[in-house]
Assembly symmetry: C2
Homo-oligomer: 347 residues x 2
């Protein structure tokens, strides 16, 4: 392959991390800039261009970039646009794929962060060899990427796979950021765990708990984890409650696409048996009989620091938005020769 | 095309209907046999072979069959097997695709009845031109066929798309045939509607209703429909209740695959605004904001009598199970010349 690398860019609310990745999924080099430093997308892309070009030069990778993949909140794979980036400082919609493609002179694809994680997992992680799986990212919210027959599901409009917004409690459910009540992510995200802890502390006010040693408003899911590991009953019950809801939701998801496995990713997925035991029990209890005992729950194998960049980078192998004005190209002066048929799983 | 027809076979619990279909979706001729007349699958297939051969001869269609598609309960597309046919009189598993392929000497594919309906709708009905839609069949149970990017979703094991078994009531839900409680189909099937009517009659025992003119145990969804059309308040409330639950479920399904449309099929789907008005209102009320007002609810355009046969027949254009012993072939003596590349949507 004449151009042996791809670039992965993960645009988060705070940091933008980018890296050069080879076809085996090795992150050759990576760096980052602050996402919120610039008021315009143009100024932001200027800095990204400068810093990425530096990284390419240092690693002798100029002219060796096959494509760029970007993971970003609310990014639409079909349109290449960030349609409403609630947590980004620029006016939306942002035609990000086209802007970056023009800027760097190479093909670009974008998708949302959970989808990028699913692609990363399929290309380099726990999902290698799986054609039907569902990635569940347990972070500030609950994200998901659904893979069916080896293809990521984008749906009619590019926004498919919002499994964090399954309504798991139809009456008196918690208010969700989406404006509705009772969504899965209000219970099974890191913030959901903290919220459950606060509710339990209030409802069981006579029960001692290590979590009473800190201001209630400052409790994080990490605090709940630490307390549970230290044997705190209330904290352990929070994980029981969380696993119970998440397991039932995974059983519900199974009826849709009959996946071979769920792959859990994110901070909360590292809670070990505290979460996994009630999760598995609830999933099996709620599972339709034909799937009982048949659907695996796996943990991501990607290093968290690399995962976002890796997942995004995998899109670079089949990036779909081509630069319109290839003459303005510092990185890849002959983009018309960039092969476009390399499969995602190219070795 | 040298072989211009396909055969569709719909194996129901009572009748087996089969028809000869041309590439435009016209049912040239059809007939049926009783499903339960024979104690062995071999005797049943003997009769099917005799009757189908007659139909082919009368219609000058012998040697003109490209393939056979079969819709049957619990039929697995991948394995070609009926894995556990709860409502069929023969021991399972039944390697149906292979048996029929041998018997008739042409390629055969099988799938479950709701998937067959989805394929029929995509090939000849309301879903022509749609790449992302979900078929919901409202019959004795609630079946579904999920189409993503133009492909029917079979999942890891061939059983994907059991949307009738979404748990819509997690506490004190109605007992479902699957062994769990609270499944969608216990509320929104024809039997679910009758069940709701009986519950309402008991709970609102002081309220007059036309439905009190018949034995409670014999009430069908058709009776509830007739009463509602006649202005009966309780019967209208049954449809309100049913539409409310189904609409919320469709909103839940949307987060998975972001379909362009849901297509409703089956007796209950013909209830008109009695069902559709509360259904649409509930779907919109429960819809995640990014999809509000964007997902259509359509009714099947296929004639009910033809739909099952048509849907199954569409599978015949790309049937995957080839006869192993082509010498035993009365219908198509030269199966090796059967082209296998005709697309499903061939005109």
């Amino acid at each position: 392959m004449s151009k042996p690398y791809v670039v992965g860019i993960d645009i988060g609310g705070t940091n933008t991390v980018f890296g050069i990745v080879d076809a085996r999924g090795v992150v050759i080099a990576s760096s980052s800039i602050k996402t919120r430093k610039h008021n315009t997308i143009e100024a932001y892309l200027d800095e990204l261009h400068t810093e990425l070009t530096k990284l390419l030069e240092v690693n002798d990778a100029v002219d060796k970039i096959h494509g760029i993949g970007i993971g970003a909140p609310n990014a639409n794979y079909y349109t290449g646009t960030i349609e409403s980036g609630v947590n980004l400082p620029w006016p939306t919609p942002i035609p990000l794929a086209q802007l970056v493609s023009e800027k760097f002179g190479v093909p670009v694809s974008i998708t949302n962060d959970a989808n990028a994680a699913a692609i990363g997992e399929m290309t380099y992680g726990s999902a290698r060899g799986l054609k039907d799986f569902i990635m569940i990212t347990l972070g500030t919210g609950v994200g998901s990427g659904v893979v069916i027959n080896g293809q990521l599901v984008y749906g009619h409009d590019g926004f498919a796979g919002e499994l964090g917004h399954l309504i798991v409690k139809r009456n008196n459910g918690r208010l969700c950021g989406c404006g509705r009540n009772g969504c899965l992510e209000t219970y099974c995200s890191a913030t959901g765990v903290a919220r459950t802890a606060r509710e339990f502390l209030e409802a069981r006010s006579n029960e001692p708990s290590l979590l009473r040693n800190m201001p209630t408003d400052e409790i994080t899911s990490k605090d709940v984890y630490d307390a549970a590991i230290a044997g705190d009953k209330l904290a352990k019950d929070v994980f029981e409650f969380t696993g119970d809801i998440l397991g039932a939701a995974l059983a519900d998801f199974t009826i849709f696409s009959a996946p071979e496995a769920f792959i859990l990713f994110g901070g909360l997925a590292k809670s070990g048996e505290l979460l996994m035991k009630p999760l598995r029990e609830s999933m099996e209890k709620n599972m339709m009989p034909i799937w009982k005992g048949k659907v695996k729950v796996l943990l991501s194998e990607l290093k968290e620091a690399d995962a976002a960049v890796l997942g995004a980078s995998a899109l670079g192998w089949e990036a779909k938005f081509q630069p319109i004005t290839p003459s303005a190209v510092p990185v890849a002066p002959t983009p018309s020769t960039v092969p476009t048929t390399t499969p995602l799983t190219a070795k």
